[in-house]
């Protein structure tokens, strides 16, 4: 039995035909039950032109991040029937993601060929009608299902019969298509369910004069040349990765010839390349691109063979260093091997190896990491340093479907965590430590602004997660609107900073006598501070105040949550049932449950 990523690693994946045969191979293995699938996703593809090959290539590309998708490609040109008929296979298939590719030629062929047969007014009304056309399909789907929708925008042609005076038209042909794209983008800006895929941008990236092969178009209605299908699928996988929780969270960086040019141990701070010279600017710009990701919540760390003193001297004092000490959540600057450093970084930062990306200019280090830690994504940096940015920008692995405030603040929090760890080393017992932290736990019932973060926590939290139930934002929205449920969140602050919303429970209170804690989770960055006991104490007190007799807790074992298998036992619950599905625990509200003494809490 192999996992998809193992099959991917054994195959070559350079050309369209490579991907095609890899996709077919994976499908065959799956049919023979020879594929070990840990993560899957259902994708429906609706298109107005032929999408032949897309499904196989997408299967192949998803295997690179160990996902095996189940894909339904509707007959091309059948998108309207599929969408409008609630009995269609599209709805019984129940996709997690629906990709819709409707192109200009298929909805407005005569307009595309003879744009100036329409008057200015007709072009203006075409714009409005076209947006409504797209919108009506999207509405139809959102009405019938909660699938995420990825809708292509229109390719803006490069040709106009008006030639260079196209831009002088009162309301031009190309302008009207740009406005459809703008209109669609604006309309769905706030939506969590609908994403407009910038297909026009994709065509520009490939080159609009290259993307279409007229022969293939006339022969088989293929509008994207087969050789570019892997590029298109790679763009699709930018949405699939966050949907399957395969996004990378942490970048681990080497220093010499990665963040700056030259070996600092040999040439010293003055001798390295970093700054406004041809050899130095590329490193400066690379650092700034990394800084921009860091500001968006991607964690940075260092793994370098160096004298710590030399390296820190550059990081602290070099005038052109864009990434300073406070940008790094953790550092390993030593002479140990990179593999053990990566392992201990993962432990310290508390992220999985599978969410790490490793940058190192040294081929041997890269190969070693690839061999011993295949979960880590190792970037093959080009030998020519000046190409670093191109390689970096081609990485599609840091996508997120929505940015919560916590993402942007995450690095600040890791910085505070570093200081907390320092404090932990100098104090004696845990309770002493917690006392000196000045912990305050703010308990708050859910409100609308918290929904993205709450959904994100249910999706990302693995270790301290009693039932590991994953929820989308729509799910949470439904729960919030349902009186049978309560969601209670906690925000934890201490003297180093605000950890943000880091824990929650979802309680079913339908049966008012028996409360059921369906979800209980805590973000790993506040584990070990007894904030969970504050939350549990609050829930039990609330249950008591509302005359509930029992509070039920559940534990469903996952690969990563063994940390909490005795959570309810430790907190005075009695086990009333144990099955393969999981454990059921019960707390009698006649008993007392005390808030931990040294933690302040406030109910908001």
């Amino acid at each position: 039995m192999n996992t998809p990523v193992e099959v991917f690693n054994q195959s070559s994946s350079e050309s369209f035909t490579d991907y095609l045969s890899l996709g077919k191979k994976l499908a065959i293995l799956n049919n023979q039950n020879k594929l070990q699938i840990d993560s899957s996703i259902k994708i429906a593809i609706l298109s107005s032109s032929s999408m032949n090959g897309v499904s196989d290539v997408l299967v192949a590309q998803c295997s690179s991040f160990n996902v095996f998708p189940n894909i339904y490609t509707a007959e091309y040109g059948q998108y309207a029937q599929e969408i409008l008929n609630s009995e269609s296979y599209l709805y019984s298939f129940n996709a997690d993601l629906i990709i819709i590719n409707i192109d200009l030629k298929s909805i407005a062929e005569s307009y595309e060929l003879l744009p100036y047969q329409k008057t200015t007014e007709e072009r203006e009304s075409w714009l409005v009608e076209t947006i409504i056309f797209f919108e009506s399909f999207i509405n139809e789907i959102t009405f019938k299902s909660s699938s995420m929708i990825l809708m292509h925008n229109l390719e803006v042609p490069v040709y106009s019969p008006m030639g260079i005076i196209e831009s002088k038209e009162t309301y031009g042909f190309l302008e009207s298509i740009e406005d459809v794209n703008r209109g669609l983008r604006d309309k769905y800006k706030m939506s969590n369910q609908v994403f407009i895929y910038d297909f026009n941008g994709f065509c520009s990236k490939i080159g609009k004069t290259n993307i279409l092969d007229y022969k293939m178009y006339y022969l088989a209605d293929i509008k994207v040349k087969t050789q570019f299908i892997p590029d298109l699928c790679s763009d699709y996988s930018r949405y699939i990765q966050p949907l399957t929780y395969k996004t990378k969270k942490c970048i681990v960086l080497d220093l010499d010839n990665t963040l700056w040019g030259g070996i600092v141990g040999e040439v010293g701070l003055e001798g390295i390349y970093l700054g406004p010279t041809p050899e130095g600017r590329l490193f400066l710009e690379f650092q700034k691109k990394l800084l921009a990701l860091h500001n968006r919540g991607i964690i940075l760390a260092i793994n370098s063979k160096n004298n710590e003193e030399d390296a820190m001297n550059v990081i602290k004092n070099h005038p052109y260093m864009a990434l300073r000490e406070n940008c790094f959540a953790a550092t390993r600057i030593n002479w140990k091997d990179k593999v053990s450093n990566l392992k201990s970084l993962a432990e310290e930062i508390n992220v999985g190896l599978d969410s790490m990306v490793f940058f190192d200019d040294d081929q041997m280090n890269r190969d070693m990491v690839k061999t011993f830690l295949p979960e880590v994504l190792v970037v093959d940096l080009p030998k020519d340093f000046s190409q670093y940015l191109g390689t970096f920008e081609g990485l599609n692995c840091f996508e997120t479907l929505s940015l919560s405030d916590e993402d942007a603040k995450r690095n600040e929090m890791y910085q505070a965590e570093k200081n907390r760890n320092k404090l932990l080393k100098s104090t004696t017992t845990l309770s002493d430590y917690l006392r000196t932290l000045n912990l305050i736990v703010y308990i708050e019932e859910v409100n609308i602004s918290m929904i993205p973060r709450i959904a994100q926590l249910t999706q990302k939290t693995n270790q301290f997660n009693l039932t590991t139930k994953r929820h989308t934002e729509e799910d949470i929205q439904k729960i919030v609107n349902d009186d049978n449920f309560r969601i209670i969140s906690i925000r934890v602050t201490d003297k180093f900073g605000d950890n943000g919303l880091t824990g929650l429970v979802i309680i079913s209170i339908k049966d008012s006598v028996n409360w059921h804690i369906e979800t209980f989770l805590l973000s790993c960055r506040v584990i070990g501070r007894k904030a969970e006991e504050v939350l549990l104490a609050y829930v039990i007190n609330e249950a008591k105040a509302n005359n509930a007799k029992f509070v039920f807790g559940y534990f469903n074992e996952s690969k990563k949550n063994s940390l909490v298998k005795d959570f309810y036992l430790r907190n005075g619950f009695e086990m009333i049932d144990r099955t393969v599905q999981g454990d059921t625990w019960r707390f009698d509200t006649m008993n007392n449950y005390k808030f931990p003494s040294y933690i302040k809490y406030k109910v908001l």
Partner: protein
């Protein structure tokens, strides 16, 4: 240098996912399951990019077996 003939055999075998040794002049959509209409087009694309030729739609339609592919290539001056 790989011969053009070898290049052609590798190409056909990789697109159709069949063993190179099983390919002969008579190999055709009728006796090869994987030679469907889409793979036929993929083959056209690959032939065009690897041999740097451009076929007309008529030529694409005229191909019924491997022998026809060879003839089309020879027409464009490819020595097989």
């Amino acid at each position: 240098m790989i011969s053009n003939n070898q290049k052609l055999m590798t190409l056909i075998s990789s697109v159709l996912n069949i063993d190179e040794n099983s390919i002969n002049n008579e190999t055709s959509p009728e006796n090869t399951e994987s030679w469907d209409s889409f793979n036929a087009l993929v083959m056209v694309s690959e032939l065009e990019s690897q041999f740097e030729v451009q076929f007309s739609i008529e030529e694409v339609y005229s191909v019924t077996c491997v022998k026809d592919i060879k003839d089309a290539l020879i027409k464009y001056g490819i020595v097989l």
